[in-house]
Point group: C2
């Protein structure tokens, strides 16, 4: 993990943790509590039974959980006013990695809240670290495209690392109009479709549908106060 | 390292090991012997004093070595008919990583021999793994651009991973004409220029100047027989 003191970290896991977090908070969940392991998640809920329990392993929901990792599950009817534990393979761990690296602030970025994240970055006076969760330690096209879509909206005078330049070039090469098709045919997009989660992929590739910015503080993710 | 049995591995370290290997062999060196550590390199030369010794740490030549890692050092006058030990920070290790991963064949790719590598790939009946050496474990723009330049020349019906698609998009976004300027302003390009190796960066970004394909077999790299 890159050193990140004094840094704003943006954690990106388009398929699907970032998108799920943005959606659940947008639908009225009061907080998301990200936990790295299934064991931690179950133990926490045993201690605090009012918490809802969501997450996945190998893309699928876990026995006894209230939700999987499909953003479409987190409807207002189910999440309004509730706190939700979330444990996912890649996204939750990326969040904790950003935290352990000592980032000064950690927000959650998705395509669905891309412009809101860009606007928040514009008010940040310091360096910005985009943390692409990837998939099982490997590079993911959808997270790089989302990072590129964010970078393309930032001050063009910012100094970019090689990785940031590559993400921006990737996004600009395909353009916003190709996001859905490119991500649908990505390694992870095809994998989710094959497991029956094609609608999640479509949902996750919609750009700028909410102004909600989730912020991680004290072990919880809540909407940033406007 | 990705599993690579039955696979052709192309090891890419544009700045500078790949370019240096292609250049030295093109200038008549009979073999390059890549070794991971300075200690191994010195020990091997002590055993076999006819070997020349090249390499770098932190971009600079090492005491008592015949060459650094500048391709411009490996002139015909110095290397004709000679075997050269080479130990570099990233490139040598990437080669050994491809070997340990069990690739069926390992060749060395640079921008200077890009088309020759593409032609060799066209004759390969199996999967292809592009190993971008990067810089101290981090992503490097120049290696991704070189990988993209190779992929752009391959059969467009090949199935690409997310990483391969990204490299191709990166290369197509900038185009061949922008390779020198993009690489000169990359993290590693700027670093080398700052250390006085700007001419190496210019040299390394010339496309398709030789048809030589270096192949790694039995611990040595030699030109592929045409």
């Amino acid at each position: 993990m890159v050193q990140a003191e004094g840094t704003l970290a943006i954690v990106i896991d388009v398929l699907r943790a970032s998108t799920t977090i943005v959606t659940a908070l947008g639908n009225g969940a009061s907080a998301i509590i990200p936990l790295a392991t299934v064991e931690e998640a179950r133990a926490r809920q045993a201690q605090e039974p009012h918490l809802l329990l969501g997450g996945e392993r190998n893309a699928h929901p876990l026995p006894g959980f209230d939700f999987g990792n499909s953003p479409l599950d987190y409807t207002p009817e189910k999440v309004q006013g509730r706190e939700v534990i979330l444990t996912t393979t890649n996204g939750t761990r990326a969040l904790q990695g950003a935290h352990q690296a000592g980032a000064s602030a950690i927000i959650v970025g998705a395509l669905t809240n891309r412009q809101a994240v860009v606007d928040f970055c514009s008010s940040w006076d310091g360096s910005i670290l985009l943390v692409c969760a990837g998939s099982h330690g490997r590079f993911s096209l959808e997270d790089a495209l989302c990072a590129g879509a964010i970078i393309a909206g930032l001050d063009p005078k910012l100094r970019l690392t090689d990785g940031a330049r590559t993400c921006r070039a990737l996004y600009e090469h395909y353009g916003a109009e190709q996001l859905p098709s490119q991500i649908a045919s990505s390694d992870h997009g095809l994998g989710l479709k094959g497991k029956g989660y094609g609608p999640d992929v479509v949902f996750a590739t919609a750009l700028d549908v909410t102004s909600l910015v989730p912020i991680y503080r004290g072990g919880e993710i809540r909407p940033l106060e406007g």
